[in-house]
Symmetry: C5
């Protein structure tokens, strides 16, 4: 057990896990970090756990109303095995939390024995942007009466603020039960979607301007890239709706009434995110449409130029060609007025053509 | 408490809030206006409240059957805090009414204590046009047994007519309970959609004419602008349907039977608005289609002109070129009939080409 | 009371209202016609009512099992007020029947007092063609135990045949109760849709032929006009489905079992009309597609002509130009075989080009 | 009663109706054929009925467990009237079976009296191909306890195999009750769809090849023709799903448990047909897409040819034109290297152009 | 009975059927292989059955908790008949398992007598790739209390791993009942979809690159080929969802509670597969869009080249033509500055044109 940080009352914010344990975990992305937070309304303790098997042998402190163990990065199976043994997790749940492509869902496993046996298993997907690419990885939550276990495949900072708020004296989080913590965890996942949506909003604004100004093939690729990422986003968020609806609807012994009121609110947030995504997808479709119209429009412009020049000069060239012929009997050639007349005819033809184009609104 | 305007019987219309308090609130858009209307079938009193905390300490007059407090513009949190304390509003509701992007929804919070505790919390979105841009802001309503609280993020005139009608003696509004006032408030929000739809109708008519007459890139942008605004409109109105359906369907102690009959009617209006929006969206899609066909059609026209001129004169130019060649042995050149024959051939070729184009229906 | 036409047994058809009262109502479109039919299996009486207030003071004849009052054209509010007072119609229903854009719906108002109090209020939309434009106006029906009131905003002939059938001895209509009359009225409205659909069918056939033969911008406008009218038609008929389904499903004291069997049939008709509309909409969409393909195809044809002529003659013109050059040392010019050789090369080039075009299937 | 063909045990197949009665009904398509089959597990009798009124006066043989009367071709109303009187058919059902455009549906009419009174009325649509055109006509079935009546508007051979199977000793059909016969009739109608689907499959395969090879306007018309016919097919089959689902779901005294098991299977077949239709509709849509891409692609090809030829020779023609000018002071003309240099420049320009086109992948 | 491989405890993996019997079945694809596995938690025996009729006469060993008979390849009807007689399979089920196009479904047949009588009949579709073509064939499963029968139309290796796992000591499969085996069989079918999806993923990636680089007609055909195969995949997997949902939902005496928990998981996998398919279909649609834009874009490029060259040189050619004319009075020709001036004008025109094209962003 490394870095136990027990405090009688967490009035001061807890140090962020990412920094506190930085010395011990130099390659955070590739290693596993296990943190355990025990809390009750009056007290909180955050520990970064180095040796989980040893840690699990000790009883939790008596004052702790809720214990939350978070496993970030799933490359050390022994940790998962230790937790699965201790809390008798269902083999199917273990399989699901290891799957990279697991979609959000909720399962209720009945059973007796340890606390987590009568428990809910929730899978969600955390979202973050890497450059302009959306990354989405599964994160799983087990909810028991007084225990919450969380597993993240890609360690992200999405739940760091929750730890901070648990450290704050008088926080609503600490005053409530384990199911309220689960609400807070899910809420953090959904809220992480809003800044991502803002980025997409900005990108779409840029693309909308680009499509009008200049058209190259790259633009279409980018539009479709955004479209594809919105589809990924949607497939991560949409099933969360069902998950939260099920949490609210289906009675479960671990789920308190207070939490259900808050889940109602979370449900609304998810619906809102999904609606915004739909709006953005429509914008992306409109962009494709604009792109195509832009290309057609430009082809039209190009053709107009060629047609205007061509229709004026092709007949005139013919005329010039005529008077370049070498017929021996060519009445016009030796008239003094012939040359000026030639230019007059040319001017007339050009003027007539231009007048016609103007009438058609070509320029 | 500023400008109390108690009257025994509001037979005369109440002065519009916007004008009455104009002296006190020079920057209406950026400041908060709190108005309180107490009414019973026989009596009505409108007050613009300057110091809400003080105001809330006094009891409402005994004759008042319903009290309606409206907060327009939400930049002074102390006002909201005071009301939240007084009426024990749920923290989640406060959060929702402050969110700029809250979609229409309804929540029922049970509870005991003050009148508003057993209450409904309804969020709707007010709509108005700024130039040709649609603006939509959330407006929230709390309904208790005898109290209605409303919060508007963007002060709009949408509820001004309600105040006017409350001032009218024998008004149906005054004869009914608080839930009927809520119906009237929602009805006013929905009715505000009809003139906006009329504007879109006119805009679409214009665009339909424009697409036929002339095609420039601006037209497509405008079509898509209208499309996007219709999507905004829809996302504001569509969830209202669920809200009103829930109000009608779910029994609630604050909701009277009379109001439910009227909600049935409101529900129909919302469905009607949504159907009109769908029709307009279809028109906008058809316009995009027309635009693209228009561009293709024009390209076709342009090409026809070039092709007609080109196919007539290119062969003739070749012919002229032939007789401009300097071969020493050139049999035709010294025939007297050669020059007229050249013109005859040219005429023949041109005539044949034109005949072919006519047969193909090109002009 | 004008033109009372009581008969002991209506074996002869009743004179059509439109003609009977023609002398009194010269501007039918702009005035209101109120007709009252009292009937029982054995007897029928049709009256065109001039002074409704006076008329309503009298009791209906004792032999009359059902009274049907029809108000065609809603420009005289006093008539509606008189009926509303007499039959205690709900203010919301009055509002709805006056609204021009009311969509079909059904409301049940409970209540005591006069016969119509325990009544159903049904709104439908009558359809007729004016030239090639579809007109649709709301028509409302109140059904009480023994009374039917109908209000049409635009006087149409849709219910004239019902009056004729009521005049026929042994008619199924007369043998049944008031709810059966309502069924017959709704059935007449739906049946009026079939000839309109036939007109659309013919129009689509014409357009399908037009798109193949010739393409001008007018064609696309007409296609979209038909599309828009089909949308209007659909929005009038589709909600009728719900209305009839509700009539069948929800028990109501005014609705007899016999009528419910017939409503089942009417329901099927409505579904059929809606399906035909959907088929026509799909045809209209296919037409748009055909139109666009037609334009593309024609552009392709135009381009082929230019390309064929251009690729043959542009190189030949170059060749002619070469031998028109004035270089002093020009070996070919004074060879006697040069001129025939020039033509041979020209022929060869043209032949090769034409062969290539043929191989590509261009003509 | 003509051609009674009673046999003690129908071990031999019954002669096909189409041939047996051929002498009496020379214009089968335009006349009505009434056939009656009485059967029980051990016995069967097929009769072609000439005088139905007379026939109906006789009682059915005592051994007959089920009587099936089939009316093919509905041009003689007296036949329908006779059956309607005998079996007290509901007037609405008569109306429906005469309607040419009746969509598949099921109605249950309760009632007492004759056997068919407690009966089901089912409408389906028979399908057959005439050349490449799909024809679809309504066929109606009445099911009583021991009686089945069928009416086909267009006499087709769809139910001939059923008669054959009824003639076979030990057939599952004969061993079961009247409702099983109805299952068999519906199954025959659905199975008749599979060969039609095979034809569409082959047609789509042809069109897919055509679109790649050559593009003419006819192809698009054919694609849309197939699309439209698939829509007709779908609108005939899709409502059958509801019909069979209702037969399975709703308990009815005429419907045996055995039949319900078989209806489950029929339901699956209908779903399968509908899914295949959907797949074909998608293929037809893809074909339209291919057609349009093909046209665009060809326009592109055509343009490339013109551009290649044009961009090479237009500059060269200019150059030739330059050296054809008659300026008196023209330095290059009398240089001996001028003419070869001209060709060198031409070759260089042409080579550069071709290199550029190759780099752009144009050929 | 060939190759009985009884072992007391299958700790060693069973030899794969495909290899073990290879000597006896040289043409595996065209012949039928019947394998029988008897197992209980402690014991397992795999037999390849040569003479099924003989085999079925013997009783299964007493220690066997579950017997699984698999028939791979359905060309020998006598085998199916023997099983149908022995286990009293419903004739409709036999019909379904022989149908090549049977879609996934589930039927419950009640009944008494042999073990399989109270049984579930499940049809699924196995999937495998042949080159780049997706093959899908029906596979049927009968589930009794202690017996599982499986029939595959196309022998595939999809259930080979199940046999391997049955051979492993302490396998979860062996510890559970017959319904768990059915779960495992269905799970194997669904899991076989994931590598196929990976292949489609790779193919779509390739096509996305191809569309950008080069456009030929083949590309579009391939896109549509992928689209069509995804539709096939979807139609195989989608109905599995209903099948598994029904297995979970409907209580059945053969279905254990443990299996239902695992089916919940399988259901999630199916939903996941379907969602991935939908994503790929969207990608394929986007590809079609890209292809079309690519073609338009290239046409635009081609046109630009022609227009640039044409608009520069066509006017210049006219100018050269002018000075090639043979008018006798031609003032410019004998000016010494005329020739350089000509080139200056040419340069000016070309420069002006190029400047205009640059300003328009054409190159």
């Amino acid at each position: 057990m490394s870095a136990p940080a027990a405090r009688d009352d967490g009035a001061m914010p807890l140090p962020a896990v990412a920094h506190e344990g930085a010395g011990e975990r130099p390659h955070r992305a590739s290693s596993q970090v296990v943190t355990c937070v025990d809390y009750s309304p009056g007290q909180v303790r955050l520990q970064v756990v180095a040796d989980l098997a040893d840690f699990l042998e000790h009883h939790r402190p008596e004052w702790a109303a809720v214990r939350w163990i978070d496993v970030a990065g799933l490359n050390d199976m022994s940790v998962i095995d230790a937790l699965a043994r201790k809390y008798e997790l269902h083999p199917l749940a273990i399989e699901d939390l290891l799957s990279r492509s697991q979609r959000p869902k909720i399962d209720a496993y009945g059973g007796e024995g340890s606390d987590l046996n009568a428990r809910l298993f929730i899978t969600t997907r955390t979202l973050h942007l890497e450059g302009s690419d959306l990354r989405s990885g599964p994160a799983s939550i087990f909810l028991g009466h007084t225990t919450v276990l969380t597993f993240q495949q890609e360690p992200s900072d999405v739940w760091e603020p929750i730890r901070q708020r648990l450290g704050a004296r008088g926080s609503r989080l600490r005053a409530n039960d384990a199911s309220f913590l689960v609400y807070a965890l899910l809420d953090a996942v959904v809220d992480a979607g809003f800044p991502i949506l803002d980025r997409f909003d900005a990108r779409l604004d840029e693309l909308e301007a680009e499509v009008v100004d200049s058209v190259d093939r790259e633009t279409l690729n980018e539009i479709q890239h955004v479209k594809r990422q919105l589809a990924v986003l949607r497939s991560s968020v949409w099933p969360m709706r069902e998950v939260v609806a099920a949490l609210r609807r289906d009675p479960h012994e671990c789920m308190s009434e207070t939490t259900k009121v808050y889940l109602m609110d979370l449900y609304d947030h998810i619906v809102q995110v999904v609606e915004i995504i739909e709006t953005y997808r429509e914008r992306a479709s409109d962009l494709t449409e604009s792109y195509r119209s832009s290309v057609s429009f430009r082809t039209n412009e190009v053709m107009k130029v060629l047609t205007v020049i061509g229709t004026i000069f092709i007949p005139l060239t013919f005329l010039a060609g005529v008077y370049g012929m070498n017929f021996h009997t060519f009445p016009e050639l030796n008239q003094p007025w012939a040359y000026p007349a030639f230019w007059a005819v040319c001017g007339l033809v050009a003027f007539a053509m231009i007048a016609m184009f103007r009438r058609r609104g070509w320029f």
